[in-house]
């Protein structure tokens, strides 16, 4: 299988007041096309930083990071924009829906940014996530689970090759979280996309093809799913 993501000795540092925090310290791994990979570890271990790098939202300070054939350290901003716009879908822990766009408009947002319109695709996804009846509602009128389902639909509307999800169930109760997770996995599988998930949730880790364990910014363990 071809590699969609390859990180080699990647470092990412943040300066806080007078000290330097190494959020990632020489992390190396790869993700093949069609894989479902879970990043696990305690809070502050670097999971979100890793996902931000993979999704092209951030750049490494050292090392090499290739995503979908693009060297993230060398890529121009425009190339990263197009990467995020057309080939990557992101699901955030805090949902991050645009409050003054309707549900349908939020889902269509990636297409609209790319100058495209596909109402049928939007309708299809809304039906799949069970929000067809809420298409004209605003995020402020939805429950947490409904908001995250909207975010899942948005992440898939443009048929991305890679879906990145940062703690997708972190702000949800267990029942809603389970529903959202199942929906995400189902839709990703159907679309043939690759999924990388950062999570505390053991169920999420359990359903992944491979689990990468991070601690203090380093990759400390890697496990494949049995069977």
């Amino acid at each position: 299988m071809s590699e969609l993501v390859r990180l080699e000795q990647v470092e990412r540092r943040f300066t806080r007041a007078q000290s330097v925090v190494r959020a990632l310290d020489g992390v190396s791994f790869s993700v093949a096309a069609g894989e479902r990979v879970a990043l696990v570890g305690p809070s502050g271990c670097g999971k979100s930083t890793c996902l931000n790098l993979i999704s092209g939202v951030d750049r490494p300070d050292a090392g090499r990071a290739h995503v979908l054939g693009l060297d993230l350290a060398q890529a121009r901003e425009r190339e990263l924009e197009l990467l995020r716009r057309r080939r990557i879908g992101i699901v955030f822990q805090a949902f991050h829906l645009v409050p003054h766009l309707t549900v349908a408009e939020n889902v269509a947002l990636p297409l609209a940014l790319d100058g495209r319109a596909d109402p049928a695709r939007v309708r299809e996804l809304l039906e799949r996530v069970g929000l067809a009846a809420r298409a004209e509602h605003y995020p402020g009128e939805l429950s947490g689970g409904e908001e995250q389902r909207t975010a899942v639909a948005r992440a898939l509307v443009h048929r991305p090759a890679l879906v990145v999800a940062d703690e997708p169930t972190g702000n949800l109760d267990s029942r809603s979280g389970a529903a959202v997770l199942a929906l995400l996995e189902e839709l990703v599988r159907e679309s043939g996309a690759t999924l990388v998930v950062a999570t505390h949730d053991a169920r999420v880790a359990a359903s992944a093809d491979r689990v990468l364990e991070l601690a203090d910014g380093r990759l400390v363990a890697e496990r494949a799913r049995a069977g």
């Binding site: 931000n52 991050h96 109402p119």
Partner: protein
């Protein structure tokens, strides 16, 4: 602790916002302090000049055209308790300064004997002065000038001072330099010489401008008052009724009253600037509250009461007000030094060219600036306090979603607007208080509040429109995001648009007033200056009459052009019901054929002059007619040179020259009363077929070599009048600039606040692949929409306010009507330029947003 945590530290962390808030207050205070300071300098120069010269003099006796020096004995006989000191007092043009100097002729020996030290007498006659100098001074062979003036002109003892007096060039030897007893502004521009010589130079040989009556010994205030009363009775009984007997201060009082009226209007304009600044401060403080919502919510959760928060915000506003006020006072004082010449130019058109006063900063200015700054900021703090009261406790903080106004709220806002419009109309029906149009100005302010009441429903409507279309294409998405952001932050958007609207209202109102004024002046001068050639004494750079024409000039003009073509114009003063008005004399016989000026009722002007000439009637200007309730056919009673006169009114003329009012009589009648008062200009109506150039050449050939005259064609006079107008209103350009700056700052303040509120959204859009173009367009569109909406409303309100200024404020203050002219091109330019500037300004927050790392935004980092 609460003040420090909630207000002071955030203020230090956002230096730009802090500076914007301080600027809003400082700009308004500076405008007010500078205009007050400059006007006060002009008034003090008027009053101080009189008082410094008069010194201990209790009364002065005068007559238009002067009193013979021999009359001193008559006055002394009637008032033995005082010394009668002759004074010759005339303005002369100093070519080196291109400005006026005051020529004062005194009897040095009498001055010394009377103990008046102001005008060089002690220095002229002190023991150390060389005898030849003393002798030459007493013989009138030269002048003494203040040492500072000598330095300024580069003149030492023995140098020659060139002046133009009664249109003639004179060169005077400087015999001495003296140090004035005070630092009054008068002594920056005074020239002193022997009275007899001064009278000769002024073409009134043997005549003093006035006699000043000085007590023979020192008196306290009570004794002075008693003596003054006694003297007045004695002198009125003994001297001719035509002679004026009054305290020296009265001479300046009426001129000062005219300047006070101008001062009032400048104060109103400055207060409007302060109002605009107040709006900016309100927006700045309110958006800062928005940015501190999380902190406010936390404090509420921890047990702070809303009253405590409100008090902290009020203290914050007060601190801003005091600091901003202090900055404004300093800036205003600096600006006053720049604007004093502008004010002087305006007062010159009212009361003639006067020496400049020095703007000073008084404790009153400081206290006014600090007080108004504090009040402005406290008023402005109502908005942020209201905003803070809406902040929920931390547990309930939710992201905003579009809130549309309920039907009830919309109706309430529209009803408020209608009520305020009704109040404005009611205020317009009220009369002025004295000549101060307070009710009309109040109506203009009420109109602004009516406009503000409309903003909520307006943005609500914009929001509803935005929600009606689907954002499925990139262009529609960008527009949708922009409009949606404004609709979501409807209150903040309304604030910014409100600030823009008020700033545009100010600009358009001023442009309408000035445009209407200018159009009226242009129309009037086209007809007023219908004579082909004009001859007058030279004026300084600031304009305004400097003396009168010598009798030889008039004789020569009559000889060159013929009496049937020359209209000499004389000016003096009369009293109607005790109030001072301008009295002028013109050649009705010429004007009944040639015409000049414009009739208020539209009748042919020659008809009015024919009637006045043939029946011996008078004409009045519009100000006089409105001030005293006169109409054609009424009988006008007035007092001139001590005698009561009654004349029918032949007609009313339109002009803008003198808001006191003007009575115009035939020149022959004028000269019966005041034979020694020379003309201030000559209007020459050329015979058919003669060109202006040929006439000018003829005149130049006939002039004496030492004459200094200004000779203009009618077209040049018209252009000159408009130039004076434009110069007088230059100060309003500055106020328009202040308003535009404040509008842009308000828009930027709100955009940055909205941007910070929407940081996560910006991060999201960046994460989803939005580029610079989308961000820039969205924010630029938001800014342009704020500018456009505010600008449109402001234009409407500005036109209405301008109409109030033209139809009510102007008429009530200055008592003449002008044509209402809408500056459509100027308004379109203002709207277009402002929208463009706002749109471009919106790129700044876009550029800032572009630099924010999307990952940090999504994390919620500051």
């Amino acid at each position: 602790m609460l003040l420090r945590a909630l207000c002071l530290r955030p203020a230090l962390r956002t230096p730009l916002r802090t500076l914007a808030t301080l600027f809003g207050i400082a700009a308004g205070i500076a405008a007010l302090v500078s205009t007050r300071s400059a006007s006060r300098a002009a008034v003090e120069a008027l009053r101080g000049g009189v008082q410094d010269l008069a010194g201990p003099a209790l009364l002065e006796v005068s007559f238009p055209g002067g009193l013979a020096f021999e009359e001193r004995a008559r006055i002394a006989a009637a008032a033995p308790a005082v010394r009668a000191l002759p004074v010759v007092d005339e303005l002369a043009l100093c070519p080196a300064l291109d400005d006026t100097l005051r020529l004062i002729g005194v009897d040095f020996a009498a001055e010394l004997e009377a103990g008046r030290a102001a005008l060089a007498a002690p220095e002229v006659l002190r023991a150390g002065t060389p005898l030849p100098t003393v002798a030459r001074t007493l013989a009138g062979e030269g002048v003494w000038i203040p040492r500072a003036l000598g330095t300024r002109l580069g003149l030492a003892v023995g140098g020659e001072l060139e002046l133009v007096l009664r249109a003639q060039r004179v060169g005077l030897e400087v015999l001495g330099l003296f140090d004035p007893p005070t630092d009054s502004a008068l002594f920056e521009r005074v020239v002193v010489l022997q009275a007899a010589r001064a009278a000769e130079l002024c073409r009134r040989p043997g005549r003093a401008t006035r006699f000043e009556l000085v007590p023979r010994g020192p008196l306290d205030a009570a004794a002075s008052a008693e003596l003054t009363g006694e003297l007045t009775r004695e002198l009125r009984a003994a001297l001719p009724a035509a002679w004026r007997i009054a305290a020296p201060a009265e001479r300046a009082s009426e001129s000062a009253a005219l300047v006070d009226t101008l001062d009032f209007h400048l104060d109103v304009l400055a207060l409007v600037s302060l109002w605009v600044g107040c709006v900016l401060v309100a927006i700045s403080l309110a958006t800062s509250v928005v940015q501190r919502r999380a902190l406010l919510a936390l404090l509420l959760s921890l047990g702070a009461s809303r009253a405590q928060l409100a008090r902290a915000l009020a203290w914050e506003a007060l601190l801003f007000g005091l600091v901003g006020g202090a900055l404004g006072v300093g800036l205003g004082h600096a600006l006053a030094r720049v604007s004093v010449d502008g004010v002087r130019a305006t007062t010159a058109t009212l009361v003639g060219a006067q020496p400049a006063g020095r703007p000073t900063l008084s404790w009153d200015d400081v206290l006014l600036g600090l007080g108004l700054g504090a009040v402005t900021a406290l008023v402005a703090s109502l908005l942020p306090i209201l905003e803070a009261r809406r902040a929920p406790p931390l547990q309930d903080l939710r992201r905003a979603h579009p809130e549309l106004l309920s039907a009830r709220s919309r109706r309430r806002a529209l009803a408020t607007c209608a009520l305020l419009l009704g109040l404005a109309l009611a205020l317009l029906q009220l009369p002025p208080v004295d000549t101060y149009p307070l009710a009309a100005i109040g109506a203009a302010f009420v109109l602004q509040f009516a406009l503000l009441a409309l903003l909520g429903p307006l943005f609500d409507h914009v929001g509803r429109l935005a929600l009606a279309w689907q954002a499925t294409t990139r262009a529609a998405l960008v527009l949708r995001l922009a409009v949606g952001a404004l609709a979501s932050g409807r209150r903040r958007a309304a604030w910014a648009a409100g600030a823009v609207a008020i700033a545009v209202t100010l600009s358009v109102a001023i442009a309408t007033l000035v445009g209407s004024f200018r159009a009226s002046v242009d129309s009037l001068v086209t007809q007023a200056f219908s004579a082909e050639l004009w001859i007058r004494p030279p004026q300084g750079a600031l304009g305004g009459p400097v003396g009168t024409l010598d009798a030889r000039v008039l004789e020569r003009a009559l000889a060159v052009f013929g009496a049937e073509h020359v209209d000499p114009y004389h000016v003096s003063e009369a009293r109607v019901g005790g109030a001072s008005v301008k009295l002028s004399g013109a050649q009705f016989e010429v004007l009944r054929r040639e015409g000049l000026l414009v009739a208020a009722d539209g009748r042919p002007i020659s008809e009015l002059f024919e009637r006045a000439w043939s029946r011996g009637e008078a004409l009045v200007n519009e100000s006089c007619a409105l001030r005293f309730g006169l109409a054609p056919g009424d009988r006008l009673r007035f007092e001139v040179v001590g005698r009561a006169v009654e004349l029918p009114v032949a007609g009313v003329l339109r002009d803008y020259g003198d808001s006191r009012g003007e009575i115009i009589v035939d020149r022959a009648r004028f000269l019966e009363w005041m034979p020694e008062v020379g003309p201030v200009n000559l209007a020459v109506f050329l015979p058919a077929g003669e060109s202006v150039g040929a006439a000018r050449a003829r005149w130049q050939a006939a002039c004496e070599p030492d004459w200094r005259l200004e000779v203009y064609s009618g077209a040049e006079m018209r252009a000159g009048a408009l130039q004076v107008f434009d110069r007088s209103f230059a100060i309003t350009r500055g106020l328009e600039g202040v308003a535009a700056t404040i509008a842009v700052i308000a828009v930027l303040t709100v955009l940055f606040a909205l941007l910070r509120e929407r940081a996560a959204e910006v991060g999201l859009l960046r994460a989803l692949g939005a580029g610079r173009a989308e961000l820039g367009l969205s924010l630029g569109l938001q800014a342009a929409l704020l500018g456009l909406v505010g600008g449109l409303l402001g234009c409407l309100a500005g036109l209405a306010t301008g109409w109030i200024l033209v139809e009510y404020v102007q008429v009530q203050s200055f008592r003449w009507t002008m044509d209402f002219a809408v500056p459509w091109l100027g308004i379109a330019e203002t709207l277009g330029v402002l929208t463009l500037i706002c749109a471009v300004a919106g790129l700044w927050p876009a550029a800032v947003a572009w630099r924010w790392p999307p990952a940090a935004l999504l994390r919620g980092d500051d």
